[in-house]
């Protein structure tokens, strides 16, 4: 993970801009650079680098001008391009640096903006400044694994940034800005690109969200083999790094699979150091025990991090600031993740963190998928979740790790894997009636491979926020109690007046919202278009625990 920041159309260079560009320095603790683009008036770029791929030459702001190849192009990119070598060979590009991102400049030069983003297999958010055509190109990967926010004003100013922090402060404090532009900041939609002339006006939005282009036979064994192969590939390409790779390990299916494949692939590559895995929770919580079993099985160097509810509550405010979200599910799940990232950053040399995010959306892992009226509805819901992931889980994993200078990698959100999986019949992807287990197809694909213990492979889901404490009182219940004591009933009654948009309906929601707005102001609350809630249940609480299906299971 790195941090990018760009500003166009402001004719001053002042300390305010630095202040903003520096608000996300945590994303790139190794190096930073701030500069203007000499051939374009009032264009400023900043880059905070976390060194993962490409050594000295990989520093950005990147130009490829040594041999006067592309002197008119400037790039800042937060991302990894997994197929950079393939593309380089395919099109015989001459690289100047060892950085994977350089391929973006060459592709853009050869094929233009749209084709460039289509050809990239990876996770990315980038800005290209083209001083010959006098325009700026912005693009973001399929699932928005790499974050990017932007705004464009009527009078021709544009800002781009990895985190809202870098923009909101600037907009708040920038002098001579008549209208309040805070409300203009939006998340840049994943799987999109935008070409804008410096004169703002032409703003093209092209691109399909998900391309489901893999069609194969419906033989179950073939399907399962394809799933294994694609998943293994997805993990393997994400090992691209010269920094130590570790894995989160909650004890659930998803992270266990990812950790196991990662461990296997690292061993195959001859990496001598064992993989470090990390779980967080209260001692003897079911997840911690399960994670321990997996760690033993895959022979990882396992770290169990525990935290008290008080520690969690103490971290609440900084977590919300790091997240830039007030969504209840997101905040709840982020606190343990934020704490574990801090632990990793302070106590180990692991920088790249593999994670299981995305599997629940793709393979219909949430308990409420049991309640789907029809496979078609389940399919639609699954795709909707994937489309909006950048607002919730993807945002959470990026921000919780980035705050501590780590980089997260989510192989379940590999474009090739996802599009193949989604191309399978909806009825195969829904929870199976026969044994009542969600993510059946994914589990059965790895059945018999001895990758992870069978009991884990078929273990029921526990949402991250629930599973980390003991069965009786979940972490979020303790959190709720604490918040309840801090907010009066009157305050909650007044919430409708104070927050006409997304009115918080619980004290917990109100508390998060209030903390969020104290940092970012009320206008940015639009960045979260809706609260994450399970479908088909009529519940107001996003936790899996309150669902009947889950409760039955516990008895």
């Amino acid at each position: 993970m790195c941090g990018i920041w760009a500003l166009f159309g402001y004719d001053t260079t002042d300390v305010t801009q630095f202040t903003c560009a520096l608000t996300m320095a945590h994303r790139g603790p190794d190096c930073f650079r701030f500069e203007n683009v000499s051939e374009m008036r009032n264009a400023k770029l900043a880059f905070h680098r976390l060194e993962v791929v490409g050594n000295v030459g990989g520093m950005q702001v990147m130009t490829s001008s040594t041999h006067d190849q592309l002197p008119h192009l400037t790039l800042i990119c937060n991302g990894e391009i997994y197929n950079c070598r393939k593309l380089k060979e395919e099109f015989a590009f001459e690289f100047e640096s060892t950085s994977d991102c350089e391929v973006i400049l060459h592709l853009y030069d050869k094929f233009g903006a749209e084709e460039t983003s289509k050809l990239l297999d990876g996770v990315f958010a980038y800005v290209i400044v083209d001083t010959r055509e006098y325009r700026v190109i912005i693009s973001r990967d399929t699932f928005g694994i790499r974050p990017m926010f932007y705004y464009v004003t009527k009078d021709g100013q544009m800002g781009v940034c990895s985190e809202v922090k870098g923009e909101s402060e600037f907009i708040h404090t920038s002098p001579g800005c008549g209208e309040d532009k805070t409300g203009l900041i939006q998340a840049f939609p994943p799987a999109h690109y935008m070409v804008c002339d410096s004169k703002v006006g032409s703003h093209y939005l092209i691109g399909q969200l998900l391309k489901c282009c893999y069609v194969t036979g419906d033989n179950n064994d073939v399907i399962k083999k394809n799933i294994r192969t694609l998943m293994t590939n997805a993990v393997e390409k994400r090992l691209m790094s010269y920094r130590r790779v570790g894995s989160l390990l909650s004890g659930g299916l998803d992270s266990s699979l990812v950790a196991a494949i990662t461990a296997q692939k690292l061993r195959e590559r001859g990496v001598e150091q064992p993989i470090q895995t990390f779980s967080i929770g209260v001692e003897s919580s079911p997840d911690v025990i399960a994670a321990r079993k997996v760690a033993e099985h895959i022979k990882s160097e396992h770290h169990e991090v525990t935290f008290s509810p008080q520690e969690g509550i103490r971290a609440l405010e900084e977590t919300i600031f790091a997240l830039e979200s007030y969504d209840v599910t997101t905040v709840r799940a982020s606190i343990p993740m934020y704490l574990i990232s801090r632990y990793i950053s302070e106590n180990t040399d692991t920088i790249v963190i593999m994670s299981g995010e995305g599997a629940d959306e793709l393979a219909q892992g949430y308990i409420y998928f049991h309640k789907q009226p029809s496979p078609q509805e389940g399919d639609i819901e699954s795709k909707r979740l994937l489309t909006d992931l950048y607002l919730f889980d993807v945002l959470r994993t990026d921000r919780s790790t980035a705050a501590h200078g780590l980089e997260v990698r989510a192989p379940f959100l590999d474009h090739a894997f996802v599009s193949y999986f989604l191309s399978l019949p909806a009825s195969k992807r829904m929870p199976q009636v026969s044994n009542g287990v969600e993510k059946h197809l994914l589990r059965s694909s790895f059945d018999g491979t001895n990758l992870i213990p069978t009991e884990i492979l078929w273990r029921r889901k526990e949402a991250f926020s629930d599973g980390v404490t003991s069965k009786k009182r979940s972490w979020f219940e303790i959190l709720q109690e604490h918040i309840d004591s801090m907010i009066s009933d009157e305050e909650l009654d007044k919430a409708r007046e104070n927050y006409p948009f997304h009115t918080p309906r619980t004290k917990e929601a109100l508390f998060y919202r209030r903390t969020f707005e104290s940092k970012f102001g009320s206008k940015l609350s639009k960045l979260i278009p809706y609260q994450w809630l399970p479908r088909w249940t009529g519940s107001d609480d996003p936790s899996a625990r309150v669902l009947a299906h889950y409760q039955n299971d516990e008895e």
């Binding site: 630095f18 190794d30 500069e35 000499s38 050594n55 000295v56 702001v61 001008s65 040594t66």
Partner: protein
């Protein structure tokens, strides 16, 4: 001109650093870059670029693929970079003259690299393999460099004092001495071990880079031979300073020095096939002043497109504050002539596309042009005085012409301070260089006599300092200024000056006035950065 800035071992926040680094942004209006260095804790460097030589690849900090452990920040022009490139067979990655520094540094080390450069420069090389940082500055300090080191392990360096004076650093900011280099080791924790500058050049000795240049000098000390050599070396000095992709203009005061420079510039530009005429610039309080009229004549003679700018006492007074802030000095002799120059540069920057500005500074020191040289007891004393002035010129005239132009995004070029030229001139017998027949700069004038370069009466015209000559007939600009300031400074304040200012106590109300403005801007910590220009014993102040 560009602006460089570097800070090592300082624990202050990035924001504080950035703030300081931006204070010299005026020196490089075209591009800037601020970054820290990989693997060096607590380091930050910044570069503000004025595009003169080289394209995008010339952006700094420069890191070559070949030597990824070296970072270069350089404000300067290296005139002999192509010669050296050929001589040592270097493969260049950029089209920028400064790249040569990294190749030389890598092959010969910092000292010899500095010696081999023919040009004006202030540079910083950061070597992350040897874990050291190196500073270096040209023979006369035409390019500015200040630095600060502390026992606590901080090293800061910047083109101007402004970029260092608000850092939370205990330690005095000093001029980096011209013709010196310095190596400092950097420890693992980013702290710098203080060290002291070492001399690599002497201005009265031929520079080491001459061994790689083919000079067509004639031997012997016959007057005609020497004059031919002077003309030859000086034409070269002008010619090499035309390097760059931006338009060259010339200041033209109407005195000998700037006239010769403007004339040779016009001539050389024509030889290079530049179609646009040379633009020349004069400033005065009155269009009838002697200098303005003299400049007009020269302009007509050399066929330049001449611009005359006038200013009033009010405009001058209004500029004094900005001038002091720009100059970072309270020296009277630097401030007085800077006011018109500052106004003139502002005009050039706003109304023309000239970026490179030729000027005659340095001639009075090299060729003994100041009126007090007429009083010298012996030619030997004259020589000593000339040397003394040249060694200190970086604090006075050189500082003035750099800052006045830099404040407006222009770049100054002073051919009279060419090392090859001055070392030849200073090695001529002392009596040859002393004033003759009551005429200062006698030999320099004689060298250009008969060349029809400038009108004969200008060639032999008596000196009028830039500060004196710009005023109306009878009352010079600085007399106006003095009178005006007399009224502004309260008597009781002046009476207390010796208590208020123990270092360099102001001796006149004018001095006190400047000093007050200076300390308001920079605080009293910086008062040691300048010393009043001392008059030689044998001169009548």
């Amino acid at each position: 001109m560009c602006g460089i800035w570097a800070l090592f071992g300082c624990d202050c926040s990035d924001l504080v650093r950035c703030k300081e680094a931006l204070k010299v942004a005026h020196r490089g209006p075209d591009s800037f870059q601020i970054n820290n260095l990989e693997g060096l804790k607590n380091s930050m460097v910044a570069f503000h670029r004025l595009h003169v030589v080289g394209g995008i690849g010339g952006m700094q900090p420069m890191i070559l693929k070949k030597y990824p452990h070296l970072s270069l920040l350089c404000n300067g022009e290296i005139y002999n970079y192509k010669t050296l490139q050929k001589e040592f067979d270097y493969l260049f990655q950029t089209d920028c003259d400064c790249e040569i520094i990294l190749h030389l540094y890598n092959e010969f080390g910092g000292k010899k690299a500095s010696q081999l450069l023919d040009g004006v420069f202030a540079f910083i090389v950061i070597d992350t393999k040897q874990n050291c940082v190196m500073l270096s500055r040209d023979s006369y300090g035409v390019r500015p460099l200040y630095y600060v080191t502390t026992k606590a392990g901080v090293l800061g360096a910047c083109s101007e004092v402004k970029g260092l004076c608000e850092l939370p650093v205990e330690g005095g900011i000093r001029h980096f001495p011209p013709g010196h280099y310095m190596f400092c080791d950097i420890m693992k924790n980013g702290k710098v071990i203080p060290s002291t500058p070492t001399k690599f050049h002497r201005i009265d000795e031929p520079p080491a880079h001459l061994q790689y240049q083919r000079l067509e000098l004639e031997n012997g000390l016959e007057e005609e031979t020497v004059k031919r050599n002077i003309r030859y070396l000086f034409s070269r000095a002008v010619d090499k300073r035309l390097m760059g992709s931006r338009r060259v203009g010339s200041l033209l005061s109407g005195g000998l020095d700037s006239s010769v420079v403007a004339a040779l510039t016009a001539q050389k530009l024509k030889e290079h096939g530049v179609a646009e005429p040379l633009q020349t610039f004069t400033i005065g309080m009155n269009s009838d002043s002697t200098d303005v009229i003299a400049a007009r004549k020269v302009a007509r003679h050399i066929g330049s497109e001449h611009h005359e700018i006038t200013f009033t006492l009010e405009e001058g007074m209004k500029a004094v504050k900005s001038v002091i802030f720009t100059l970072e000095t309270y020296d009277v002799l630097a401030i007085r002539p800077s006011v018109p120059m500052y106004i003139l540069c502002q005009h050039i920057s706003r109304n023309t596309n000239n970026i490179l500005i030729m000027t005659g500074e340095g001639a009075d020191e090299v060729a003994q042009g100041y009126l007090h040289f007429l009083e010298q007891p012996t030619p030997e004393d004259g020589h000593k005085e000339s040397m003394r002035q040249l060694q200190q010129i970086y604090m006075y005239d050189v500082l003035r012409i750099d800052r006045c132009t830099a404040a407006h995004g222009l770049e100054i070029r002073a051919p009279f301070l060419d090392h090859a030229f001055t070392s030849y001139y200073l090695n001529l017998p002392a009596d040859m260089r002393a004033p003759k027949n009551g005429i200062e700069k006698y030999f320099l004038r004689a060298a250009f006599a008969g060349a029809n370069l400038i009108p004969n009466n200008t060639l032999w015209r008596k000196k009028e300092g830039f500060s004196t000559g710009v005023g109306e007939e009878g009352t010079s600009w600085f007399e106006h200024l003095q009178q005006h300031l007399e009224g502004l400074v309260k008597k009781y304040r002046f009476a207390r000056a010796s208590q208020s200012y123990t270092h360099n106590t102001p001796r006149t109300k004018e001095e006190l006035f400047y000093r007050q403005i200076f300390e308001k801007k920079f605080g009293s910590k910086l008062d040691r950065i300048c010393t009043y220009q001392r008059r030689p014993k044998w001169a009548q102040a």
